[in-house]
């Protein structure tokens, strides 16, 4: 029936799930070809596969989501209808999945489109018809809340990159240099409730992550919204039913995950009066302690910078005992013996202009389009670009110097001179501390910074609260929560 039915109006979104391979879960291959719509998979090994598991069949752009029903029977598993969306052949991968409930989402938008061009005809005023081109399938999700795990899930970052125990001594932490973004494709499942109490489920397979619109706003009273655009590499399926798997709610965003209060934004620079030593052993990526030549001036809670092997990372000290330093932050990279470890001091940025304090992920992703396939084959991650953007309103000589990345020598008395030294003196890092609505501490740190000096506009008008726009690009962006 095509008559509009009020009973089928969209009522509300019920859930947004992101499905990925389950760490340590079942992982095997097909032993027999399976056609589209088949509801039986013959596996090399059914170990790990259980009733109502989400199951991912195939790899890369061909990976699709199905759901197992019942325990394995021998080496076979049965699937809920409608079964496979497309054919898969023997030896293709079959992986147990895990569906993460993303929790509170808002402004969910299906930015889907299909190219269509008119067919011109000089004999007619109207075009002859329409020719159809490529289609883009996928939702844009706005997730209300923040945690390192949510950030990872929404940016195609593997959860193995999230380390730590969630305590101050070992916060939950994610350190990114960009290589982690877009590594893990996801299936997205959106379920909506209609007015008559029935459901509509939209499944998007093998979604690439367009992370280039991702921002974390820090201002007071601004909803913490993580926005990602997903582009399915192969398929969309709409089913009038709830998902038949159970979702994992461990990382579900809730109101407690909102960054409610901005406590501190500072620039970090080397403290000449602080500790200054070298490591006496190699330190591995992911590790959090190292031996050093001296621990003079070190105290719990100090911040420092470790530099060696061409890399630099801001670190947070937990303890320094008999030449062994333990950090609260884990190492993003391995650092060699002989790396320098210097104390950092904070240059607080006060009076920040409203709604201007942001951590932004920029960069590029490239659409993958093939001549012989209608649906765009997802996106490939290109570059990333991590930026802290702030607008302190203090029009002081020192703040103007820092806005332009000028060295201290550019200031003479009460005069700041601009010169070829613009952009030559950037902070080592930046630091942002917030408290979440659930009274957790959230810390964001940028390591190895440069001033990004494009478009430093500043209106000199008496009735505005124009700040000094500052943008700091960093090589490593860290997120900590405890």
């Amino acid at each position: 029936m095509l008559t509009p039915l009020r009973s089928k109006l969209f009522d509300k979104m019920v859930s947004a799930h992101l499905v990925r391979p389950k760490a340590g879960g079942g992982a095997t291959t097909l032993t027999a070809n399976a056609a589209a719509s088949a509801t039986l998979l013959a596996l090399t090994s059914p170990t790990g596969f259980t009733d109502t598991d989400p199951v991912l069949v195939g790899a890369g752009e061909d990976r699709e989501l199905v759901v197992q029903t019942g325990a394995p029977s021998g080496n076979n598993i049965n699937l809920f209808a409608p079964g496979l969306k497309r054919a898969h052949v023997a030896t293709e991968a079959v992986t147990e999945g895990i569906a993460f409930d993303l929790g509170a989402v808002s402004a969910t938008q299906l930015d889907e489109s299909v190219e269509s061009s008119p067919i011109p005809n000089d004999n007619l005023r109207n075009p002859e018809g329409t020719i159809i081109g490529h289609a883009v399938l996928g939702p844009r999700l706005t997730v209300q809340g923040w945690s390192p795990q949510l950030f990872a899930l929404l940016n195609g970052i593997q959860l193995a990159n999230v380390l730590g125990a969630g305590t101050q001594a070992d916060p939950t932490q994610l350190h990114c240099d960009g290589d982690e973004f877009g590594v893990e494709d996801s299936a997205i499942v959106l379920t909506s409730l209609l007015d008559d109490g029935t459901y509509l489920r939209e499944e998007f397979d093998a979604c690439g992550h367009d992370y280039t619109g991702m921002q974390i706003p820090f201002g007071q009273g601004r909803p913490t919204e993580l926005v990602t655009k997903f582009v399915s590499a192969n398929n969309k399926q709409v089913i009038s039913a709830l998902p038949s798997y159970a979702a994992d709610v461990t990382y579900r965003a809730g109101k407690g995950d909102q960054l409610e209060s901005l406590e501190d934004i500072s620039l970090l620079e080397v403290d000449g009066a602080g500790f200054n030593t070298t490591t006496t052993a190699n330190i591995a990526a992911g590790a959090n302690s190292v031996t050093v030549a001296a621990i003079t001036n070190m105290a719990a809670g100090d911040w420092g910078v470790i530099e060696g092997g061409g890399r630099k990372q801001v670190v947070w000290l937990e303890s320094a005992v008999t030449l062994t330093v333990t950090f609260r932050t884990r190492m993003k990279y391995a650092f060699p013996s002989g790396a320098t470890l210097k104390e950092l001091k904070f240059i607080p940025l006060g009076g920040l202009n409203k709604d201007t304090s942001l951590f932004k992920v920029g960069g590029s992703v490239r659409p993958v389009v093939f001549d012989n396939q209608r649906v765009q084959a997802g996106v490939r991650p290109g570059s990333t670009d991590f930026m802290l953007s702030v607008q302190p309103t203090s029009h002081t000589i020192d703040m103007l110097r820092r806005q332009w990345g000028l060295p201290a020598g550019a200031v003479s008395g009460n005069t700041l001179r601009f010169s070829n030294l613009i952009g030559t003196d950037s902070p080592i890092g930046w630091y942002v501390r917030c408290t979440t609505k659930a009274q957790k501490t959230a810390i964001f740190v940028g390591s190895d910074c440069d001033n990004a000096l494009a478009e430093l506009t500043r209106a000199l008008q008496k009735d505005n609260q124009q700040g000094l726009a500052m943008n700091f690009r960093c090589k490593v962006a860290s997120q900590l929560k405890y």
Binding site: T31, A32, N33, A34, A35, A36, S37, A38, T39, L40, L41, A42, T69, G70, A71, S73, G74, N75, N76, N78, L79, F80, A81, P82, G83, R86, A87, G197, T198, Y199, S240, A241, L242, S244
Partner: protein
Amino acid sequence: MRVKLLKDIEGAKAGDIVTMAHADAEQRIARGEAADLGEASVRVRFLSSVEPTRLDPQRYEAGSEWIVPESRAEELLAEELVDLVDLDAAPASYPLED
């Protein structure tokens, strides 16, 4: 139509696999009371090659074996394009009550 109950209904419990009238099953599936199990699948061997179509872009080579839905197998058998393969890797073997 075979469904797996997600909620208790008269005389049957959540988790039971039951057969019910198509219209009733569709209503229950849409309301989240049952999940569609669809039809069973069987294994067939293609006797001749089948070219891809827009609806099924897979090419099936002569001699290759595929697990296909039962209804598709019936179509292929009727056209004498396949043989049924009697292997241990038989179709659905969960405890059907119908």
